[in-house]
């Protein structure tokens, strides 16, 4: 990780000079950013995605799925049992009127959601379906459902072990439950895990929470305007993010926070309309999803390919087990940590089971994936790495093409949505990254400014680099967070179970009641 950081920064400094000198060399600049970036991060990516010996199954995917399954069983299918209660909590049925004006469950949930709903749902799903075929959707939904239990575990701990400062502000997240929770259980190494986690979180903030977003936002813009250097998009994005996180111009962030939910709803509605118009094909699409889930329907890597892609993209999209949500959810006002854990169950559900599935269905139904009419199997591209698409696009461009089959004007709406989603995700991740940064280096204006400047700089790198290199690095960092976080969750899950049992017992006995309105 450290090697990457220095490598990336050195590359960056070296590259910033020629750009200033000659803007017309922008295309070669993109290429050079990409080469240096891929070169300096490749070793880490390889380590994280190393296959299990003798298979082509990355160990990290197994790690996530096994964890989510263990949490699901250990907490007695909490995602099913507490689903109704989660909705009741979000509605504010159990909110104490005397706490009015504090952060509500709804606000904690939506803030966390605006960090996860974004390009993972649009571009990530397109990548999954593009490589793994419609069958990837099945595994993605399954991973989303199981991931609800991981999210429950980490968010309960996030609230339980958050730091509350004298001025009433709070800081929470895996760093805090690793140190405090391990100490409480008398297990050594909590502090060490917390430091490693914080380092990876900074990487994740710069990768998935930043470069991937900038990259895909640029891809979407060029889809409409025609090709131009990513440098330009990067600089503009960096300037706006700079204005918000360094300049403290809150109005931009507030506008985004209000427009993003609206865009999310618009996106789902548009997908629904396309699905309704093609209602006769929905049965066929689900058939493809189920059949593809177990046979692969000829995609690269067959059924294992579909499974890996589905699980990978679900984890990247809903971040269950990654630990980022524990930071966002900790701000809620509640006396019962379990309540926020229960509310956080809804996050993978909305993000993955609802929104990602919509995208996957639209892509499948739209016919942008090329099928061999004779065999009924997908046709692979020349390199044999992904399914050939109607216009050769991938990522967000593929989603855009799929939606365009329903509404020709949709790419414009999607472009706006992608830019806003990218922006709100960047703002959220700049916060997660900053929390990790201050955990490592302490709080202070100058220290925070250093991180914010690095964050803005990586937006430019992300917009200029190519998708492959960026997506690999983003995945690697996010999954590296999950390695550390889930290790900690295994040690701390008995605490969550105790909290959970106590809470639901009191709920059952009537000690915890709804507040009348």
């Amino acid at each position: 990780m450290k090697r990457f950081m220095t490598g990336g920064l050195a590359a960056a400094t070296a590259l910033s000079l020629p750009t200033l000198a000659a803007a017309q060399e922008a295309v070669s600049f993109d290429q050079r950013v990409n080469d240096i970036f891929a070169g300096s991060t490749g070793w880490f990516v390889n380590l994280i995605f190393m296959n299990l010996p003798g298979t082509n199954f990355p160990w990290i995917v197994l790690w996530l799925v096994v964890a989510a399954s263990i949490f699901t069983i250990y907490f007695g299918f909490i995602q099913v049992r507490a689903f109704g209660h989660a909705i009741s909590l979000v509605k504010g049925d159990y909110a104490d009127p005397n706490d009015a004006g504090e952060v509500s469950h709804f606000q904690a949930l939506t803030t966390a959601l605006s960090g996860t709903v974004g390009l993972g749902n649009i571009a990530g799903v397109a990548v999954a379906v593009g490589i793994g075929g419609p069958g990837a959707t099945f595994w993605m939904i399954l991973a989303g459902l199981l991931g609800m239990a991981s999210k429950f575990t980490e968010c309960t701990l996030g609230v339980k072990y958050r730091n509350e400062y004298p001025d009433g502000s709070v800081s929470g997240g895996p760093m805090y439950y690793m140190t405090k929770g391990f100490k409480e259980r008398g297990i050594p190494g909590g502090r060490f895990l917390a430091i490693v986690f914080a380092i990876f979180t900074i990487g994740g903030a710069l990768g998935g929470g930043n470069m991937f977003q900038a990259n895909q936002a640029h891809a979407q813009i060029t889809q409409i305007t025609g090709d131009f250097s990513g440098l330009i998009t990067g600089v503009i994005f960096a300037a706006v993010v700079f204005a918000v996180i360094v300049g403290g111009i809150k109005s931009i962030a507030q506008v985004t926070e209000k427009v993003v939910p609206f865009m999310g709803v618009t996106y789902v509605l548009a997908a629904l309309v396309i699905l309704i118009v093609n209602a006769d094909q929905i049965g066929w699409a689900f058939g493809q999803i189920f059949e593809g889930a177990f046979t692969g329907l000829g995609v690269a890597g067959g059924f294992v390919g579909a499974l890996i892609q589905g699980f990978k993209r679900a984890a990247f999209s809903n971040e269950a087990g990654v630990g980022s949500a524990a930071i966002a959810h900790s701000a809620v006002k509640t006396k019962e940590p379990v309540t926020e854990g229960v509310v956080s169950l809804l996050e993978p559900f909305i993000d993955t089971v609802v929104i990602c599935t919509m995208t996957a269905l639209v892509i499948t139904i739209s016919g942008v994936l090329v099928v061999n009419p004779e065999t009924g199997l997908f046709v692979l591209n020349e390199a044999g790495t992904a399914i050939q698409t109607a216009d050769g696009s991938s990522g967000v461009a593929l989603t855009s093409a799929a939606f365009a089959t329903g509404f020709s004007w949709f790419p414009y709406v999607l472009a706006v949505a992608v830019i806003l989603f990218a922006f709100s995700t960047m703002i959220s991740w700049s916060y997660y990254g900053l929390k990790a940064w201050t955990y490592l280096f302490g709080e202070g204006k100058t220290k925070e400014l250093v991180f914010k400047l690095i964050f803005c700089f990586f937006i430019i790198v992300g917009a200029a680099a190519q998708l492959g290199a960026v997506i690999d690095f983003s995945d690697a960092m996010i999954f590296a967070m999950a390695v550390v976080n889930i290790t900690a969750l295994y040690f701390l899950m008995p605490i969550v179970k105790r909290e959970m049992n106590s809470y639901f017992d009191r709920l059952k006995s009537g000690e915890i009641v709804k507040h009348g309105h």
């Binding site: 504010g92 909110a95 009127p97 009015a100 004006g101 504090e102 952060v103 509500s104 469950h105 709804f106 606000q107 904690a108 939506t110 803030t111 605006s114 960090g115 001025d167 009433g168 502000s169 709070v170 800081s171 809150k250 962030a253 507030q254 926070e257 209000k258 993003v260 939910p261 930071i327 966002a328 701000a331 809620v332 006002k333 703002i427 959220s428 916060y431 997660y432 309105h517």
Partner: protein, 146 residues
């Protein structure tokens, strides 16, 4: 509560002050009557916030409450008490119409008195002002002071 209670909504405006004056004159006529003065800080648990806003929320809330007390509530309460009335002060976050009605119910109030707030902007036109919504939903008699 055996005593009659009148709930008054204050918003720091002229109309709010007139509402309090009206409540006082009513209370004087009734005799044994308490005045519950309410100040509502408009807030919704269903708004969207950034992570930083969430982190700072508790502090902001304390500041909002303190400001409400300093600027509006405390002077009104002191003055009303000095006039010899039994006073109850409520400062709360939420929807003004909901909270005024909830306070009225809680204290078994005889009526709610509010100042009329002139319609402002599109939002008021679409969703109706506080007074309009209160008139439509209040569970006790409502007096609107122009």
């Amino acid at each position: 509560m055996t005593k009659t209670t009148i709930v008054v909504g204050l918003d720091g405006s002229e109309a709010g002050a007139r509402a309090l004056d009206f409540a006082k004159s009513q209370a004087k006529q009734i005799g044994e009557c308490a005045i519950a003065i309410c100040y509502v800080i408009e807030w919704s648990p269903f708004s969207f916030q950034t992570p930083e806003e969430n982190e700072q929320r508790h502090k902001r809330r304390e500041e909002e409450l303190q400001l409400a007390h300093e600027r509006v509530m405390d002077p009104a309460v002191t003055k009303t008490k000095a006039d010899g009335f039994d006073v109850l002060a409520v400062v709360r976050h939420g929807d003004a119409a909901d909270i005024l009605d909830a306070v009225a119910k809680q204290h078994g109030a005889a009526q709610i008195v509010v100042g009329r707030v002139g319609a402002r902007g599109l939002k008021e036109r679409v969703f109706g002002g506080v007074t309009g919504r209160l008139a439509a939903t209040a569970s006790v008699p409502l007096t609107i002071i122009p």
